[in-house]
Symmetry: C2
Subunit: 111 residues, 2 copies
């Protein structure tokens, strides 16, 4: 059953790739919200981008999963200059800690 709920990425059948980004934000905004929106808009323009799902709890923990057609698409996005600059600010300013995983989605099903 499909849904129009924007919490769910509309994805093709597997296989495709997922980048699982688990984070703990620092206190305060420090330009984060503006940059997060900018980076999501930019990501959506990248070749091979399939979708994104992102949740942040009041305790500042968050999980963002972005979906990509291929590992090459993920690597190209990692090399993007604006994204590279944003990641550096993430490390120094916006995240207390983060973990990133690249995974190949093999099966998918929904409610």
């Amino acid at each position: 059953m499909s849904t129009d709920d924007p919490a769910f990425a509309r994805l093709p059948d597997p296989p495709y790739y997922a980048v699982i980004f688990t984070t703990r934000r620092t206190e305060g905004d420090h330009g984060y919200a503006e940059m997060a929106e900018k980076m999501e808009i930019l990501a959506r323009e990248q070749p091979g981008f399939l979708g994104i799902e992102s949740v942040r709890a009041p305790d500042k923990s968050g999980i963002t999963v972005s979906y990509w057609e291929s590992e090459d698409a993920i690597r190209a996005w990692k090399r993007n200059a604006e994204h590279t600059a944003a990641r550096e600010l993430g490390r120094t300013r916006w995240y207390e800690h983060y973990e990133l995983k690249v995974a190949k989605v093999e099966r998918a099903y929904g409610m």
Copy 2:
């Protein structure tokens, strides 16, 4: 750099498997919080369980990622009778919608 922050699962080096569970909760609790805690305790006891990361936003959207040693471990957990009963309640009572993906984690790195 490792962290003691419980928002982050402590995982071995890849490869391992991830189950990405994206959800939208219904309004109200309806026994959800108690069952969610019970299922997490039960999951942690399963052979091949590696860790779990879970975030829910005030808008009721959520992402839970559980990590497993193998696809067999994921299948065995899916067949667990208590978990099967909980999933049925999830479909009928707790979730407006959900999507589930099984993925092989190939690379992982952190801050």
